[in-house]
Symmetry: C2
DNA sequence: TAGATTGTTAATCGATTAACAATC
DNA sequence: TAGATTGTTAATCGATTAACAATC
């Protein structure tokens, strides 16, 4: 109940809980339980209650959790009760997909700008209205705008340089799609998305 | 030393090790150590040695690991010493990005076919040479081709149906990009990629 | 009230780390 | 040989689960 130092593995599950709650709400549900959430997510009900107990008491004995209330609280805990500007680097297929991704807006994020290194791409307008900017201006632009979150969607051999530039310009949270392990100071949080890594995790279990 | 029942969390790290080894090899390195790998990945050297010890002995005392040898062994362990056909569902921006993703081929995967529900997309040819097929033919095609791995890149409201179809047709491993928790039998492995979930994990640590 | 479900404690389980003999 | 690094054991640390009093 109101710890400081919540285990990172617990923090990592909160967005999953939040997503499930939003899903239930869209289904016009008003109340749920740790049991129902757990069944849905493949997690034990005890774990869900334990996880939530790090942050407060959000349920009612005998009843469960009011979905909207818990949802609001999780948004606050995760700091997505506000909008975050995100700077996207890389305007290839993946960058384009991310720039026009519909799943950001109502979950706390907005792609504020897109950068690329290719001269023929710079100046082009994306469907969403963003104009691709020159990666040479990345550092200045990030610093001046004060963006704290970056998404890296450039090829592997450019990723570390982009990461270092972003970090140098004040970014403290990175979502990296390039298939390399970024080197970053411990003050900078990095999340990694590498589809091949996930697929290889799966194939371990296949004949 | 050749356990059965290796913890899933260990299996999940192996693709990261493999990726780091390939990276070092590209740098013309021939030997590495658990210390070097650990520094690079932000993992303790003891953990790397322990993880590998589940599968055998791959190093030499006093020397370290021959990169190519360990790489080959990890490929075998992860079953990516072969090529896996992957069926991709969804030909939106994300589907297109995945269909033309260069990071699959040399790491064990090939997008064998792409499906979409939009009539105007069906029949279109993608840059890589694949022709978008009608999702109505998904079940038959998957069954006949015997594909075991599926990637779901459709909107959230279509994802569960696609997953069920794939599973019904024999797919046993899913990589899901739709922002929902899929319901699947325990015989089917699911990996989830939701950029917003990762971003929310990051914002927890931001003011 | 009776039934249900929370929040929390204590027990269990599992993963990580430290340490070191073995040995290249 | 001396130095380095593995593979493994045992200790530590942390996370999950089971159980239940509290209470809606």
């Amino acid at each position: 109940m109101g710890d400081r130092q919540v285990p990172d593995i617990v923090v990592g599950r909160l967005p999953i809980y939040l997503r499930a709650l939003t899903f239930l709400k869209a289904d016009n549900r008003e109340i749920t339980s740790s049991q129902e959430l757990g069944d849905r997510l493949g997690i034990s009900s005890a774990q869900i209650r334990k996880d939530l107990s790090h942050f407060g008491e959000f349920g009612k004995q005998g009843t469960g959790y009011e979905i909207r209330y818990l949802e609001d609280n999780l948004r606050e805990i995760l700091h997505v009760d506000r909008m975050w500007d995100v700077v996207l680097v890389g305007a290839g297929d993946l960058g384009n997909a991310l720039a026009s991704y519909k799943g950001f807006a109502d979950r706390g994020f907005r792609v504020a700008a897109v950068f690329d290194a290719a001269p023929e791409k710079v100046g082009q307008k994306l469907p969403g209205g963003l104009v691709i900017e020159d990666v040479n201006t990345l550092e200045t632009r990030v610093r001046e705008a004060g963006w704290k979150i970056g998404i890296i969607a450039v090829p592997a051999d450019a990723a570390q340089k982009v990461a270092s530039t972003l970090i140098g310009a004040g970014v403290v949270a990175l979502l990296n799609y390039a298939p390399i392990s970024l080197i970053a100071p411990s003050t900078v949080r990095v999340e990694q998305i590498d589809p091949t890594v996930h697929l290889q995790h799966l194939t371990y279990y296949l004949g």
